[in-house]
């Protein structure tokens, strides 16, 4: 038993040290990749920049700024559809970034199709949901959660009057926070928006190349993704504009694994 204890005492710090150094190495490597991609962008080597940013995202460095840079590179490379797609993904993470809002607006102004804004969630404006990302909402909720139970814990030993009123206030605030978090989570889970990536897409009456072409939409247009079937996707722009396109011609803003 004592030998096992001794072994753990020796191996645990070694394991922690190795994992920390691996992590530090990853961060350093990611920083190098980030600066490399930025340099490529500035030298107008946009494809190299795109590859660099995509590699960072693949390695787990998925944040709004990387998405923003990637979208910029796509826009410079002339791929409007992917530029808007990654600007929209960046918007989910850094919705208050002024550069992002400017560039997204600029990119959208270059689309061909005039479409109404898709309303994915009726309570978008409630409590400024649009200006928060899901992680921020969860972070604020966590802080409130810890603080509330800290105060309740104090009350177990000292039932002072101030702690009573503070705990009542915190219960109200945390209820609102929980509501915001739940709505934000629902908003994220129910986000079915997708961006058309191909230059021109024929929307057909059914999932078959022989089906009637109902209408055509163009690169960068935002649509609602309904469901997929045998490599085809049923989309809609409004109640009277629905149809099927090949799944390679569009990509969802919020990545989901469901294939239903």
């Amino acid at each position: 038993m004592s030998r096992v204890k001794r072994l753990i005492t020796i191996l645990l710090p070694v394991f922690l040290l190795i994992s920390y150094s691996v992590k530090a190495q990853n961060v350093q490597s990611a920083q190098e990749g980030f600066f490399e991609a930025n340099r490529a962008y500035k030298k107008d080597q946009f494809q190299a920049a795109i590859d660099g940013y995509l590699k960072l995202i693949k390695n787990g460095f998925e944040n709004g700024h990387i998405y923003f840079n990637l979208a910029n590179a796509y826009l410079r490379a002339g791929d409007l559809g992917r530029a808007i797609l990654f600007y929209e993904r960046a918007y989910l993470l850094i919705p208050r970034d002024d550069d992002l809002n400017f560039n997204l607006s600029h990119a959208k102004s270059q689309t061909v199709d005039a479409t109404d804004k898709l309303q994915t969630f009726a309570m978008n404006g409630f409590l400024g949901l649009d200006t928060w990302n899901l992680y921020e909402a969860f972070f604020v909720f966590s802080i409130l959660n810890v603080f509330l139970f800290f105060i309740l814990g104090i009350r177990l030993f000292n039932k002072a009057e101030w702690s009573y009123y503070l705990s009542i206030f915190l219960v109200i605030v945390i209820s609102v926070g929980a509501l915001v978090l739940a709505l934000k989570w629902y908003q994220s889970a129910s986000d079915n928006r997708a961006i058309i990536l191909a230059d021109e897409v024929a929307v057909r009456a059914g999932p078959d190349p022989q089906d009637t072409v109902l209408f055509k939409i163009h690169e960068g247009t935002m649509v609602n993704y309904e469901r997929s079937e045998d490599g085809w996707v049923l989309l809609n722009l409004s109640e009277d504009k629905r149809g099927w396109v090949k799944s390679s011609q569009l990509e969802r803003i919020v990545k989901k694994d469901t294939t239903s």
Partner: protein, 590 residues
Amino acid sequence: MRKITAVIAFFLWSLLNTAWAAADISVSLRLDRVEATLVDTVRMEIHVSGTRSSDARPVLHGMESFLVTKGGTSSRIEIVNGKVNAGLTYTYFIQPQKTGEFTLGPAEIKADGRILESNKVKLVVKASSPTSEPDRSPVFIEASISKQDIFVEEQTLYILKFYYRINVGNLSLNMPEIENIALKQLGEPREYQTTNSGAAFRVLEIRYSLSASVHGEYVIGPSKMKMIVRKRGNQSLFDDFFNDPFFQSPFSSFSSGRPLTVASQPVELKVLALPEVERPSDFSGLVGKYQMESRLEPAHLKTGESATLTVKVSGKGNVNRIPDIDLPELAFARTYSDQPVLETDPGDDGITGTKTMKWALVPGKAGQFKVPPLKLSFFNPESRKYDELHTATHTLSVLPGPAQETAAANLMPSNSITAEKSAKKEIQQLGMDILPIHTSAGDLSVPYRMLFTGWLYWFVLFGPPVIYLMLLGGMKIRNRSPERMVHSRSRNAFRNLSKRCRQDLSGGADLIEAFRDYLNERFNLAIGTLTAAETEKILLSNGADSDTAIAMRSLIERLENAVYAGDDAQPADAVNDLLGFIKTLEKEIQ
């Protein structure tokens, strides 16, 4: 009753207002046609508005070549939107005595002590239609055009005359539709009597303004008039009633009979292109005859005050093409343009109109400044060349305003700085591009994301409540130990006694009873009646000091004596003594 009073009051007010309305009297002269033959009788009306009476009948000028017959006088009073309009109409019938072009009027009338003059009107008198012409049918329609060679956008008159000498009704007119040709009706149709081929006809005359947008040769197709020709015969008792003029109006639909359609002859039109030679660069497509006038009011002002520059372009032609004239930027003043106003009048001879443009000029510095003349180009079909109109050069005299006077007194830099500051420009977007990439090392971080990873997510979410519940459970368990229970019992007993003592206990007996309950609860006893000796015994057996036990016994005896002596009131300071002894007792027992 109130309603009647209100009506009378309103009527009286209306009559009083008539006097006010008389202050603005005007006279106008009108003919029922602009062309006539020697055998026609033309109806002439003189309208006097603003009064219902005149001092004398009108004096007519320019009537030497006409035989004039009085046709009566009528007066009217109208109340529209609370405004009273009074009027007087003199009607005359005039018959031309010779051919030619005549100017009739003005008519002079004396009203309200003043002599007023009307406008003049023109009448063209032609020889009567020769009787040698073949007999015309009782219903026919004639189309004519006032000028057959016109320029693009030039206005000419297309006149339709519907002649009839039988009873017709339900008239409807179908106009020809020709590409690049626009027809616009001028005023209401006129009705009068004339002779044609020796026969008397009633005439319904409709005038149109015609213009072409593309040069070329055109044929204006026939205009068709559909109608119902009413039957004659089978006269009944009701004929007199239906012979009323209302039912005889050609547009009345109270009729039955034979449907009939008549068509005018086609009319040829040649449209010439506007000359390319000497075409001004600012030519907007305006064709016709125009005048331009301008005024600047006030011409003297102080800096910061506002003057109004008004430019009016009026004329006859395609007035809707009068352009919005641009006022050049003025170095000495800020300019604010008003929305231009275009007023059109479809008169007998064509469409006339006036466009009024206004600018507010707010000078920023003192001095004498000139407002440069404004220019307008148009094509004059009469002279067949382009003309230019210019406004006068206006001079604006600007004195220093209060702010500028102070500035001058303080020897501040020249006024041009103020002018530069005041002449702010709208920022223009010169290009569009995206903003650059984010390059800071901090942009690689993934904020808050670690909260969503693995155990930390669950810990942050459920850790605090779990820790709290564990603490709560631990405290509950702790409170169930014998020591905690004794301590708790002691605390509760003392709390209950203090509570009862704070209440208004009526006498010593109540105080003894409260103390007894304390002992029962504190030491888990079941004493029914408490005596002083028992008190001492219980306290000593539970570890109290002998002094305290004796003191308590003395207190109970004091209270008992008070009760048995018939003194129902509490002995002085008994409550305080009791609570003091119990505090001491609690310390001793622990």
